[in-house]
């Protein structure tokens, strides 16, 4: 495996710096929300994690389309790497949302459209990973994964639109929302800056992780190749 490319070193370093700055903005720069108190600060990384999940699953769908139309095992690698990252960050989104909900909604969980659709989305992509494990042939695995990744993406806009189309307790922070939603708040300029910076930071986190994960996949492929050579010798 080739040494870490200079571009990846720069990206990783930049991501670490941005993450540190994001933590500063969340805990120091952004003001405390007047009603919810400190727990509102979870919002910044909660939404940013949800954004990474949606972005990752979008990349999966695009990679699937490219794989089916042009071929190229690399696109299958991009898809599986992106699913893995998306599953992790959607889990962060759901778990942090639950913790935020406890003091605000007085419950860890409720069968609200946003919570349900987000959980369904998470399960769809966990199933993607499990499905791949059960298929031996790499080409068949890649094709099935591509189709699944494209169809599974339907769950992403459903999750995003759920709070805008259905009656929900989940707040819509940007734009108008259901007046019965609990936990809504108006963002001050500093809050908005911290929010947007968190989104930017997590985008860099996604890009870094994806690149590292792809390198891991290259290493795994090399190991498989060597195993075949040893077995055939």
């Amino acid at each position: 495996m080739k040494p870490m490319p200079a571009g990846l070193r720069v990206l990783t370093g930049l991501t670490v710096v941005l993450f540190g700055l994001a933590l500063y903005m969340v805990f120091v720069y952004a003001p405390r929300e007047v009603v919810m108190g400190e727990v509102q600060r979870v919002f910044y990384f909660h939404v940013a994690a949800g954004w990474v999940g949606a972005l990752a699953f979008l990349v999966v769908a695009i990679a699937g389309i490219i794989y089916l139309t042009r071929g190229g095992r690399r696109w299958d690698h991009v898809a599986v790497a992106s699913v893995e990252i998306g599953v992790v960050f959607t889990l962060i989104n759901i778990a942090s949302g639950s913790i935020w909900a406890r003091p605000i909604w007085n419950t860890w969980w409720t069968w609200d459209p946003r919570l349900v659709t987000a959980t369904v989305m998470e399960l769809v992509y966990i199933a993607y990973l499990m499905l791949r494990q059960g298929i031996e042939d790499p080409d068949r695995r890649a094709k099935l994964g591509a189709v699944y990744g494209i169809v599974g993406f339907i769950s992403v806009p459903m999750t995003f639109l759920s709070i805008r189309l259905l009656r929900t307790i989940h707040p819509v922070v940007i734009g108008s929302g259901d007046p019965t939603a609990e936990g809504a708040f108006d963002m001050t300029p500093r809050m908005l800056q911290a929010f947007l910076f968190s989104l930017l930071t997590f985008t860099f986190v996604y890009a870094s992780l994806l690149w590292h994960r792809l390198r891991l996949q290259s290493l795994a492929d090399r190991v498989e190749e060597l195993k075949l050579r040893v077995l055939s010798a």
Partner: protein
């Protein structure tokens, strides 16, 4: 009617929230690092085996 004096005390939930967020990220990073390490060890071992096999075949 009682008026709320300042924000609710939810510091504990914030700490729990960020503990979970950073914890899950850390677990994933450690997982990646361990997978890298294990694959590098496997690669080194297999490369030695391939060399030995090719030398003995000559």
């Amino acid at each position: 009617m009682l008026l709320q004096e300042g924000p609710a005390d939810t510091l504990g939930y914030m700490l729990l929230g960020y503990g979970v967020i950073l914890g899950i990220m850390a677990v994933y990073l450690v997982n990646l690092l361990l997978r890298f390490r294990n694959l590098r060890q496997d690669r080194a071992l297999l490369e030695d085996l391939v060399d030995e096999t090719e030398q003995s075949a000559q």
